[in-house]
Each structure stands twice: as structure tokens, then as C-alpha cells.
Subunit: 307 residues, 2 copies
């Protein structure tokens, strides 16, 4: 294989009760990336569209991953990379994760599929570290494994792929504001009451059980975050309006995607998803804040080969 | 139906990472209870063997449940109750829960099966309140639903029955010491670091995922409690010896049953379970502390009708 073009999806991390543990991939939006083998070793970014990102191969999340993988695999070729960002950095939808995970996946294809999904996740985490300063796994693992994933452990890294009920849909709104990652971290409590922790892990258990059994009621009851959301929602203007509009229109639940500002809602079926989309849109259109929205399936496969 | 005899199992609550949320039923030990319809209304305990418990119908966990159910159902008959305790109160194996859950189940049979398992759990929780002062659900729900259960929520009460991998076995040791419930509560932290909470709920997610997929490695990796066990293990003499002996002999994991002093180990298959039994026995026999042990299946059905 000398060339590959892939789609690297946006991802939702910190799924309600599953703060720092649960993520999923969407399929409506994401990046397109191409990888071309070159005789000359090393990595080069030949084109970036859709966002203003660095061409410095050690500072760009995608090229940093490609470079590390080529070096680790002791490859006798290089790669030319193009990146078309399909969604904005800073949205809370795993923009750097899509680049990093896509880079790991694409490079692995040109290397003849040497690495497992877990190994690719580790390479992609290096890209997250380059982009954000910390090697977080939930977004990149969701992109690479697809569907719902659980980061069971970091040391050693263990990723569990969870089933995705067939009718699960996601509606998301991205208010065009900026939340600094530092601010999103700083508002979190360093300690939480044990009884709140119990409530939260009982909900994690309920959500995962619901995913295994296609039990939408249980998924809905379990999509509750009493830890991160209460602390972070004040960073997102009109968060309660969005959430209430989603629930009123029949969403199973709603929460902050990543560290925001995107807010996601999970829904059963296309009809409800459309109603939730309209309800959220209606609630937000007079706020004076620009926003983008999408409806999507939860992508069972994550990264896809386009050609 | 005029008469029923049942077996009400011992149960393990606070299953490792699932503090206050996860429980399971065993089938090797439990209580036997009989329920006989009487023309005279009300409840009477005619015999208690195996433990020194009160015959006062308002203070005994079993009879208090029977009385409440007969009253709620506006029954035109009464019940005579016998209780044979098959294991000791204060063991951490849900002794009052077995009595309360058994009472709810048996009474429901004589009432013509009026109530759902969830309703029976609520009645049995009343028995827990009579016996222990708080209406905890995990032991009684495990006895009534059988298998592994998750208490997803108390308000409203929601119990999720989880699957039980076929080869799952439990080995337990009950050191003959007394732990006061108050002491077991007092050593728990009221707040825990957010990062520890994340670790704990990722393990809850892993354990439940492992139960759904018969993934014994995942179950093993997830049977970790970094919240309650570190605080409580000092109340159980030689806890670390027990746990290390169990793990060395191949147990998937080990932890404190309820608030102790019983320590349980989960194992894959009978051969490993026997080895774990011997290893724990060996480690404890020179401590100078009397102990009882058992090996059991995780009971998929919980309470059983004997005749």
C-alpha cells in the first residue's frame, strides 16, 4: 500500500457519569487525512485545510504520531500527510484526538498493519500529549476502537469496547465560545463526597449494563453526572436551557462533551433525534451566541478507510 | 398454598470496586425458613434455631417483614414462621438480609405471588432497617434477584440483575471476630480524591463488562477496591495474608464481604476454587483466630423453594 485516505471521527468523552472513563465515536463529522509513502524517510505535512494548525512536524499532533511510529517501526520509507479538519479545535469533540488517532491508523496501514488497536491508542496518546500536554486516552480510544469505549485502566492501559445499541443517536450543539482546558480542570473538585462517588459508579454500572442489553430506559436513567457537570456547566452559557430542551423533546440524557463547550444528547431513534435537534436549536437561537449543530449515529467502527 | 419452605442465601455486598452498589448471592450457605398459613391474622415466630434471635415480631427482621406485607396486602390470614439460621449474624454475609428477603419471598408465595422482585426488595429493606437501622438494598436484592445485582439507584429504587459467568466460584473465610457496623462505617473517608473515584468507577465498568462477556481476565483486573478496602482492612486480622494467599493460588480477586469480617475470593472453576480454599486455610490456621470457610457457586437464582 502506497497511499490511503481515511476519515477520523469526532468523539465524545466524559460521557455523563463516566468522567475520564467513557467515550464514543460519532460518524457525522470528523477529519479527512491522506497518507502517501515517500522514498525519503521522515514525515512531512503538505497541506492542512479547515483549521489553522502548525506544519511543524514535532508540534502537530498528527505528524508527531506519524514520526514516532515510523521511527519505532524502523520504517525504510517516509510519509507525506494532508489533513482536512472537518470540525473545530477547542470544541470538546476531540479535535486533536481525531488527528492523532487518524495518524496512528493511517500510518499503521502503510506499515502493513503491524500494530493492535491498543498499541495504536498508545501512539495516538502521544499525539494528545503533543497537542494538549497530557496523554489522555478516552477520545483517541473511541476513534480507534469505534463505538462506546471504557478506559478501564491507564497502568497498564486497558480499553474495553462496549456494544452500541442500534438505534442510539447523538445530537450535539457547539456554541462558538472558547473554554480553556485549564479552566475546565480548575473548576473540578479535587475531592468528592463518598456518597456522590457511589451514585456516580452505580450510574456507570447502569449505563454499561444498558449498552449490553439495549435497555434504553436504563441508559436514560443512568445518564447522570453529579460530579463534573455541576462544576463545569457554568462555563457553558445556557447549558441548562440546552439540557432541558433536549430532555423535553425526548432525549435519553444530555451532558458536556469532553470539557465543553459542546453539549451532547443521546436519543433513541432518528425521529426523536430530529425533535431534540429542533428543540435545542429553538432554545439557543436567541442567545446571541453563534452555534453549530449535528445529528449522528454513534459510529460502531470509528476510523474508516475512504480509499 | 398453605405452607412453604424456602432457602434464603447468604450474600456478598460491597463487591470490591462496587462499594454500596454491587452484591451477589451464594448457594452453599443460607437460612431455611417455613411459612404456614393460619386462620388467625398476624404473624408469630414458632421456632428459631441456629442463632439467638428475638421472637418479638416487631424486632425480628423476618417477622417484621411478614407483618408489614400481610398488613399492606390486607390479607385475611396470618403466618406462623420458623427460622433456621445457617450462618452467623455479624459475619458480613447478609444474615439479617437473608431473613428479611426470605420473609418477603415466602410471604409473597402465600399471598399468591402478588409482588414483583422490586417490591419484595422494598419490603425486605424494611427488615434490614428493623435489624440494622438502615434500609440498605444490596444484600436483600442479591438474595431476591439472585446472581449479581447492581443497585443503580435508591430514589427511585432500581435493581439491575447482571449475568453470572458459568464457572464463577466464591471462596469465603469468616474469622470468628466481631466488627461493629459503626466502626466499619467510621473508618470510611467521607470524601475521596476525584482521581480515585474515577479509578473505582472505571473498575465498576470493567467488572460489569466482564460479567456480560464471560471475560474472566477483565473481571480479575477490575476486582480492585481502592476506596473501602484500604480503610477497612485493618479491622480484619491478617487480611493481607488472606488476600495474598487467594491471589497466589489463582483467585480472580478478593475483598471484604459487606463490612466484614468475612473475606471472599472469586475464582474461575472448581479446581482453582479448591486450591484457593486450601491456600487461605493454610495461611490462617496458625493465627490463633477461629474461622469457618466455604466454597460456593454464585447462585443465579437466589432464594429457592425447598417444598
Amino acid at each position: 500500500m502506497k497511499y490511503i485516505k481515511i476519515f477520523a471521527p469526532a468523539t465524545v468523552a466524559n460521557v455523563s457519569c463516566g468522567f475520564d472513563s467513557l467515550g464514543f465515536a460519532v460518524d457525522a463529522i470528523g477529519d479527512e487525512m491522506t497518507f502517501t509513502k515517500t522514498a525519503e524517510k521522515g514525515v512531512q505535512i503538505t497541506n492542512i485545510t479547515g483549521a489553522d494548525l502548525t506544519y511543524n512536524v514535532d508540534e502537530n499532533a498528527a505528524s508527531a504520531v506519524v514520526k514516532k511510529m515510523l521511527h519505532t517501526a524502523n520504517a525504510d520509507f517516509g510519509i507525506e500527510l494532508t489533513i482536512h479538519k472537518g470540525f473545530s479545535p477547542g470544541s470538546g469533540l476531540g479535535s486533536s484526538a481525531a488527528s492523532a488517532a487518524g495518524a496512528a491508523f493511517g500510518t499503521n496501514q502503510l506499515l502493513g498493519d503491524m500494530y493492535s488497536n491498543l498499541e495504536l491508542t498508545k501512539f495516538a496518546m502521544f499525539g494528545e500529549k503533543v497537542a494538549c500536554g497530557s496523554a489522555i486516552a478516552d477520545n483517541v480510544a473511541a476513534a480507534i476502537f469505534g463505538g462506546f469505549i471504557l478506559v478501564r485502566s491507564y497502568e497498564p492501559l486497558e480499553i474495553i469496547k462496549l456494544p452500541v445499541p442500534n438505534e442510539l443517536r447523538v445530537v450535539a450543539i457547539h456554541p462558538q465560545i472558547t473554554i480553556k482546558t485549564k479552566d475546565a480542570r480548575d473548576v473540578l473538585p479535587t475531592k468528592i463526597p463518598l456518597k456522590d462517588a457511589v451514585t456516580q459508579w452505580a450510574n456507570v454500572g447502569g449505563l454499561i449494563s444498558g449498552l449490553y442489553t439495549d435497555n434504553y430506559n436504563l441508559i436514560s436513567n443512568s445518564l447522570v453526572d453529579i460530579v463534573a457537570e455541576p462544576a463545569r456547566k457554568s462555563l457553558i452559557p445556557f447549558f441548562d436551557n440546552i439540557k432541558n430542551s433536549a430532555l423535553k423533546a425526548g432525549a435519553l440524557g444530555a451532558g458536556i462533551s469532553g470539557s465543553g463547550p459542546t453539549v451532547f444528547a443521546l436519543c433513541k431513534g432518528d425521529t426523536v433525534a430530529k425533535a431534540v435537534y429542533k428543540s435545542i436549536e429553538e432554545s439557543y437561537k436567541n442567545t446571541g451566541i453563534d452555534f453549530e449543530m449535528f445529528v449522528s449515529k454513534v459510529s460502531p467502527e470509528g476510523i474508516k478507510i475512504i480509499k
